[in-house]
């Protein structure tokens, strides 16, 4: 059952997935031509780190977009038929949802593999100063975690069905990140705790920490 569902998911998301797989592979490789102008002296280390950070940021954006696109595409195929087919199949709804979610995770796993492969190729081609290293595995792992997190949130929001529920969740997420950006001391006292709580969520180790922690492909 799961294999059939995964295969079907691949069929209706493959155009999107192939695009993101190509992007996931190509972005780390891009670091090679981008850093070609730097030498290998220690003075140019900052340039490499900047390129690595930019690549990391682009990878982060790419995997998050891929996760959202996957959720949207996965649900829209059932939306078109008003979910009649899914609901008429002899499978418990919880199991069906888990399989769908699991299928999404596996497809995003492919994306993480593409990032890792691209990163490995780039790491092989880059001539870095001695103090710097490329981190393809770490970048791929971050990509995987972030993609899964975004996919899971998107899935949950989408499963939450009602447009009002979706609006509330999206609104809450926007407020959350807004309060992360606003300094706690500038807020009125009743809102200070909200800012602190928001920051706790995005701190390393917090549930959203993966999204805001450094994504550098090249680092010391």
């Amino acid at each position: 059952m799961f294999v059939a569902m995964l295969r079907a998911q691949w069929v209706w998301t493959r155009a999107i997935m192939l695009f993101f797989l190509a992007a996931g592979f190509a972005l780390p490789v891009l670091s090679v031509p981008m850093s070609a102008r730097f030498g290998i002296g220690w003075i140019s280390a900052n340039g490499y780190v900047e390129v690595g950070g930019m690549i990391g940021l682009l990878v982060a954006i790419t995997v998050c977009l891929a996760a959202v696109a996957l959720v949207v595409q996965n649900w829209s195929v059932d939306d078109r038929g008003r979910h009649v087919y899914a609901l008429s199949l002899p499978i418990a709804r919880r199991r069906y949802l888990l399989y769908r979610l699991g299928g999404g995770f596996l497809l995003l796993g492919m994306l993480a593999v593409a990032v890792w492969l691209g990163g490995a190729v780039a790491a092989g081609l880059l001539e870095l100063p001695e103090s710097l290293h490329a981190y393809p595995a770490s970048l791929a792992l971050r990509a995987l975690m972030a993609a899964w997190l975004v996919h899971a949130i998107g899935f949950l929001v989408r499963f939450g069905a009602g447009q009002r529920a979706r609006g509330v969740v999206f609104g809450a997420l926007i407020l959350l990140f807004l309060f992360v950006l606003l300094p706690a001391e500038t807020l009125p006292a009743p809102l200070t705790w909200l800012s602190l709580a928001s920051r706790a969520l995005v701190l390393p180790g917090g549930p959203f920490g993966i999204l805001v922690s450094p994504w550098s492909f090249i680092d010391v």
Partner: protein, 335 residues
């Protein structure tokens, strides 16, 4: 004999409106049950409730012995379902759709699936989203039949199909039922089509069951009579009987003093024609009543008995129920 479907007092609301109002429905195992009703009467809502898609606000549903929606999954594995509209994934091909569907049904018969694909002239590599309406209808039926169901639930399976495709679809259903003795629950507003294949019929209107009875009884028992001399205020149902005689209890064949309520058949509708002639639409008519009519209603003459086809019977039953504002669950008039 057990019942394949048993619905009792099913109520479902969409917002503040009632979509189903205390619906009772029984489909005997092995029967071909025609579920008739005008557009918007609640047929699809009933079927969606039956398939566990809409949790009832009240009442109970038993599908192949399983309570719906709590225990619907094992029942669904034994049901072949064709919904009103195409519900399949448009990005999958016919073959991919068959493989996908097969993964959920332990009773899937791959050989039968391939046979039906050839019989319906469906191309395996054709995308579902690009199939014509007729091809999509055939594919949905193929999927429903290849799971070797004990119960086929068909929601307007031939609606909008051309006559050739319609005939193919109906033939496939009839062949399957003949071979498997499966139960069929088929919803449609195409009354003539139901007449050909069904042995039970249920009439739904405004979310309530108007009548539920064997097709033979329906087909043979609903007649249009032309009666002379039965002077009474015109009307339908029990109001039609009001002027025919005072008092009650004369019983069938009682002669003087008989009322419509005591007749051995039921008057569904009554219209005044020219002079003292009237046209009655009646239920539960038997051929032997013709000779005894004058004795049943002294002073009246039965001039003509006309057979009604299912469509006319359907319209008359609905009209009578609407005129009374009372709908019954077993075909009996509400008290």
């Amino acid at each position: 004999m057990t019942d394949a479907i048993r619905i009792r007092s099913l109520t479902y609301r969409t917002g503040r409106e009632f979509a189903l109002r205390g619906l009772d429905l029984t489909v005997p195992s092995g029967s071909v049950y025609g579920f008739l009703g005008p557009n918007g009467s609640g047929k699809t809502t009933t079927i969606k409730s039956l398939m566990g898609m809409l949790p009832p606000d009240d009442g109970t549903i038993d599908l192949l012995g399983h309570r719906v929606p709590d225990d619907v999954v094992p029942a669904l594995a034994r049901v072949g379902y064709v919904p009103e509209r195409l519900h399949l994934y448009p990005a999958l091909s016919v073959d991919e759709t068959m493989r996908y569907h097969a993964a959920f049904y332990p009773r899937w018969d791959a050989r039968e699936g391939d046979r039906l694909k050839r019989a319906f002239a469906l191309r395996g590599d054709a995308l579902v989203g690009r199939l014509s309406k007729g091809e999509a209808g055939k594919l949905m039926l193929l999927l429903a039949l290849a799971v070797r169901p004990e119960l086929l639930v068909l929601d307007e399976p031939t609606d909008g199909l051309d006559p050739v495709v319609r005939r193919d679809v109906l033939s496939a259903i009839v062949d399957y039922v003949a071979a498997s003795k499966a139960t069929v629950f088929i919803s449609s507003h195409l009354v003539h089509e139901q007449e050909r294949i069904c042995d039970w019929v249920g009439l739904l209107d405004d979310g309530r069951m108007v009548a539920e009875l064997p097709m033979s009884e329906f087909r043979a028992g609903v007649k249009r009579l032309r009666v002379r001399g039965a002077s009474a205020p015109a009307g339908a149902g029990e109001s039609a009987g009001a002027g025919l005689g005072a008092g009650a209890g004369a019983g069938a064949g009682a002669g003087a003093g008989a009322t419509i309520a005591t007749l051995p058949f039921r008057v569904l509708a009554r219209r005044t024609l020219i002079g003292s002639d009237e046209e009655w639409v009646v239920r539960d008519w038997r051929p032997d009543m013709r000779g005894a009519f004058a004795a049943l209603l002294p002073g009246s003459t039965l001039r003509e008995v006309e057979d009604l086809d299912l469509e006319d019977s359907f319209v008359e039953l609905l009209s009578a129920a609407r005129a009374r504002g009372q709908i019954t669950t077993d075909g009996r008039e509400a008290a």
